[in-house]
Each structure stands twice: as C-alpha cells, then as structure tokens.
C-alpha cells in the first residue's frame, strides 16, 4: 500500500514509485543488464566487420597485427583484469559496511583504469610515429597497404570505442567515490556500486575479446 508521495524519511534511498528496496534493487540490476545487452550489440557491429575482413585478408591483418606492441597489450590486459578484481572487492566492501575499504578499492580501480588509458595513449603515440593512423599520413610497408589501413581503422575504432567506455566508467567511479565518501552507501543499500561494478566488468570483458582478436593474430609466425 502506498499513500504518500515523498520518500519515506526512514528509507531515504527508496524512490517513491517503488514499493520497497527489494523491488528497486531488482529494477536497477535488470536495467543495467539490459543496458549491457545493448552495449554488446553496439560493439557487435564493429566485431562483425572485423571478423569479415580478417577472414578475407588474413595475411595483411596478421602483418598489421604484428606491429602492435604485444607486451603493452598484455600488461594492459593484466591491469584491467586486476581492476575488475578491485571493483569486485569494492562491491564486497560496500555489502559489509566497510566504508574506508570501499573508497580504497574504488580508488584503486580508478588508478588501474587510468594506467590502462595511459598505456593505451603510449600505444596510440607509437602508431602515430609509425604513420599507422588512417587519415593522418598513413603508410604501411607491405603488399597491400590499403588493407592494412582497414585493419588500423578497425583497431582504432574498436579500441577507441572501448577507451571511451572506460573514460565514462572513470566518471562513474568518481561519482561513486564521492557518494561513498559522503556515507551514502550501507550494507542495506549500495545498489549504485553494484551496477557500476556490472558496467566495469563488461568493459573488462570487451577488452578480453579485443586483445586476442587485435593483438594475437598469427603471432606464431
């Protein structure tokens, strides 16, 4: 039964149109999962294009892929996976009412995310120096430079879109950190931390697909 139109003073985190915190939590979580499904479809278009052209041009894609820095890519992969660990620990800390730990793990996640972006920046810089950025004086030594252009277009589009999502993720983490600092979260209600965690894990998983597809093409050659 619901009669009043404002949030109950005893339950400030309950929005008025929900009956109870459980329903609100269920809605927020389902909402984030549906959003992640849309993100899968969003990235999917680029993945589809990449798969097509990789099947058509295995030689050139292999050659172009080998110019990427596999060490930096691998380091970044470890950095991002670790950031997912710290994020999961942050969610756990929220669930156990440990405000300081929550803030520490959120900050750690952000630092690792920033490290990832920094390394990505270094890689992009390398590509710029080697004239491997399409549209900016592109040159490639090999039999089919235009197809290498295609590889790098997809490389920058896919990693760029991923990086954009990471930047947004860092923004979200900042908001979460501020809210945590203000003591907004409790074991009873910490839904924003949970759904931010879902988002961050999704961004991580996208990279888990991107790394082998882009960096590990024909590396045994």
């Amino acid at each position: 039964m619901h009669d009043d139109t404002t949030a109950s003073p005893r339950e400030p985190s309950l929005q008025h149109h929900f009956d109870d915190l459980g329903q609100q939590h269920e809605a927020a979580t389902l909402g984030m999962w549906v959003f992640l499904a849309t993100e899968v479809m969003f990235f999917g278009g680029l993945f589809a294009a990449y798969m097509l052209y990789r099947v058509w041009y295995p030689g050139t894609f292999g050659a172009a892929s080998r110019t990427l820095d596999i060490t930096l890519g691998a380091v970044n992969t470890m950095v991002l996976i670790t950031s997912s660990l710290t994020m999961a620990l942050a969610v756990h800390a929220a669930a156990t009412d440990e405000r300081r730990k929550l803030m520490a793990f959120l900050a750690a996640t952000m630092v690792l995310g920033a490290v990832f972006l920094g390394i990505k920046g270094i890689e992009y810089h390398h590509k710029f120096v080697e004239h491997h950025i399409p549209g900016f004086g592109f040159q490639f030594e090999g039999p089919a430079p235009e197809r290498a252009n295609l590889f790098f277009s997809l490389y920058f589009a896919m990693t760029g879109l991923h990086a954009l999502h990471m930047i947004i993720g860092l923004g979200i983490m900042t908001v979460m950190l501020i809210m945590a600092w203000r003591g907004r979260f409790s074991a009873r209600w910490h839904t924003p931390i949970e759904i931010s965690g879902l988002y961050w894990h999704f961004v991580d998983i996208v990279w888990i697909f991107l790394f082998p597809l882009l960096y590990l093409v024909d590396r045994h050659r």
């Binding site: 149109h17 993100e39 969003f42 295609l150 997809l154 589009a157």
Partner: protein, 534 residues
Amino acid sequence: MDTLAFPRTHYLNAEYGLKSWLLTTDHKRIGLLFLGAISLFFILGGIFAGLIRLELLTPPGDLVSDDTYNKLFTMHGIVMVFMFLIPSIPAVMGNFFVPIMIGARDLAFPRLNLLSWYIFMTGGLFTLYAIVTGGVDTGWTFYTPFSTLSSHSNVMTAAIGIFIIGFSSILTGLNFIVTIHTMRAPGMTWFRMPLFLWAMYATSLINVLATPVLAITLAAVALERAFHMGIFDPAYGGDPVLFQHLFWFYSHPAVYIMILPAMGVVSEVIATFSRKSIFGYKFVAFSSLAIAVFGFLVWGHHMFVAGMSVYGAMIFSVLSFLVAVPSAVKVFNWTATLYKGSISYQTPMLYALGFIGLFTIGGLTGLFLASLGVDVHVTDTYFVVAHFHYIMVGGAIMGYLGGIHYWWPKITGRMYPDMWGRVAAVVTFVGFNLTFFPQFVLGYMGMPRRYHAYPPEFQALNVLSTAGASVMGIGYIIPVIYLLWSLKYGAIAGNNPWGAKGLEWEIPSPPPTFNFDKTPVVTEPAYAYETREK
C-alpha cells in the same frame, strides 16, 4: 463505477509552469512532450511527401531538380521513420499507459524517461539542422559507397542526428522492459496483462537489441566520411554491401518496432468495441514475441538483388514467409474476436478495422516481395513503396490514430465529437487507398522508385495517387481541429466512457499524478467482459 466527473487535481494541473513540464519525471507528461514533438515532425515529413507527390503529377521532372528530389524523398523517409513512426506509439501511448496498465505509479526509471525525451529533441534538432542547411540525398537507407564517398550533402550531420535519436529509443525500450518485469501490481501476472503490454514488451526487446547496431553503422559511415576508414570502400578492401547487411540488420527489426505497437492498440480497441475478450489471448501474446524474434532473421530480403548467393536468398525468403505467420495469427484472432461480438463503430474501432484490412494487404504484398522471382521484377519499383506504405501508413498510422482516439478521453478528460472522428477516419481510409493502391500497379508496370521523372504512360495513376494524397491530408487535418476543440469544449469523459475493461479505465480522466490512490490488486484476466448466455 463510472464517475462522470472532472477531477479537481490531476497530472495536468498538479503543477504549473514551463519548468514543471521541462523537468517533469511524470511518465504521463513525458508522453505528452513526445506527442507534441512527433506531431511537429509528422507535419514536416508530410510536407516533404506533398512536394514529392506534387512533382510526380507530371511525367517530366519539372518541379524540382533531380538532386532536390533525391533530398525530398530522403528527408521524407528520415523524418517519418526516425522522428515519427519509431517513437510514435511507444513514446506517447507506451509512456502514458505502460505504468497505469500494470498498476504502477510510474516507469522504473522516471529520470531516464525524461532524458530519453531530451535525447530525442537533441537528435531531432541535429537532423533538422542537416535538413535546413542543404539536406541529405542518399535515401533514408544511406547506401554506401554513395553516402560515404560521393554524396556532397549533409550525410555526417544527419547520421549523427539519427545516432543520437537512437539512444532515445534504447532508453525507452530499457525502461519498459524493466518496468514490465519488476513493477506489476499484485495479481497482475504476465498472462493477465493487456495485450498492448505484450506488444510494448516485444517492441522494447527489438528496440534495445537492434538500435545499437544502427548506431554503430551510422557511426561507421560518419568515420568513413571523416577519416576514410575504408570499411565500406573497395579501394581499401572494404565492401559496400557490408553496410547493407549492418543497416538492414537493424532496419528490418525496425519495421516491427513500427508495427507491433499498432497491433497492440488494435487488440485493445477490438476487445473494447466488441465487448469481448480477445480470442486466443496467449496466441496473440506469443505472436508478438515471435515477430520480434523472427524479425531479426530476415534482413537479407532487402538485398536479394545485391549479389547474394541463391542459397542465401532462398533461406531469407523462407524465413520471410515464416515471419508473416505470427502476424496472420493476430489478424485471425482479431477476426474471431469480432465474430459474435457486440460491435460498435465508434472512431477508434473504425481505425482498428481499417488497420486490419490495410495491414493484411500490406502484409500479403510483403510475401510477393519475399518470393525471389517476383522480387527481381518489382524490387526498387513503386510496388515496394506501396507495400511499405500500406503497412506503415495503412497499418501503423491507423493504429496510432486509433490509439489517440481511444485514449484521448483518458489523457484529457474530454470527449471529441465522434461523428467528426468517424468522418475523418473514413476520409483518411479512402484517401489512403487512392494514394497507394495505384502505386502497386505502377510498380508492377515498371515505374522505378526514387525517380523524379517517369514515362508518360504512368501519368494517370500518378495523378490518382497525388489526388489521394490530398484527400488523405484532409483526413489528417480534421482530427487536429476537433481534438484541439475538445480540450475546451468537449464533453466530460468520466472514468470510463467506453465501458472498457482495464486498469486505465478505473482511474479518473485525466489521471492523478501518481495514477492510483492505492496499489490495485488484480483478480481477473484481461478483457473480462461478461459473456452473454445464448
């Protein structure tokens, strides 16, 4: 239970002022914000249609140049598809009634709902900017390599505008899915929901899964134009047909985004004006889901002449035949509902009946197009144009107008004069058929689409079509007049002017801001009309 009164406080007068509208989180007000926006866009799209039909009155291309004509049909398509049809029923009637029909106080994410409107307006203004600063000439389908390499029109701006608009659809769909899953009132089980909600749910599934693909495809077109990515350019090893696959992977499900909500409206209207439960409720409910699922599997039927293998074409052809089956299931079930129903022919019912007839014709001609041999003859002719206008205008717009007329009393608390409503419905129906039936013949006789000139032997049918368009235009203008008139002078509607079943008819007209004083408890199935003893 019909209180024939105008409530003292309701969602329209609970708060006053521009800020109370622009910062509202009330799903009903947001529905009206969308109504205003899409109505303006509909007028714009209609103006482009009028210019097209005006040009086609005479065989030579004498009204506008060929480049301008390309822009006219492109912008007609873009405005009508992305800025009118896709949002129409979901953003107006879905927003207004999804919470009420499940017994909730609002959607799951009210602020996201408002954001959805702002995103829509931003994208709409972007696209309008593209239109007024020179237009786009690629067709609403943006085929490459013309759109990426050769077109000198505002492709980038339009692509960005539509990209932005897409997020509006995604957020609305997300909101509906979560709302329907988590906020149904006690006793409102899935199979007690009105069929309009099943239609909204299925539409929302398509919205959230298909629209992102359009978004990334348009982004790729923009990147191609800006940085020469090469993804669709043969000179770089790219394939222009890849664009078609990616585009139609969204745009075919998109047509189901446009028709499913109208089918939902028809279910509601047919039940109310036959005073009978929809025959085969579960079949109709599952058919909505089936359309959503199958709709994702048939995109290749837009590409039969693009060079695909015969085997691929055959598979898409068979699947396209299959996707017609759930639609047919609905038509048969509506017909069975009418049988021995207590039928009254008020305005909403006329639109619903019109829908059934015109959608059937449009749908059946879709099967013509799904047949490979026939398709080779009629593809890219006016046959296709007629087919999709039968579905989109004869179907979706009739459904939309039916919904407007059905729920107008609930939204505004006023009745419109039913006689004028019926006149307008008939005028629209006659005008529509006069406009588009000749186009089936024209297409079959070989008149290509997207040409501003044609051989003289096609003129008579083109003149008929343009005349029909004028009649149809009148049919659309009449409701604007009496609906606006009704706001001030219409009879008071009361809670339930149609004597219909459904939670929305148990609350005052217009509803209070939070819909229900007490959360309803649902104990009966949908459309629980009393059956008469024989």
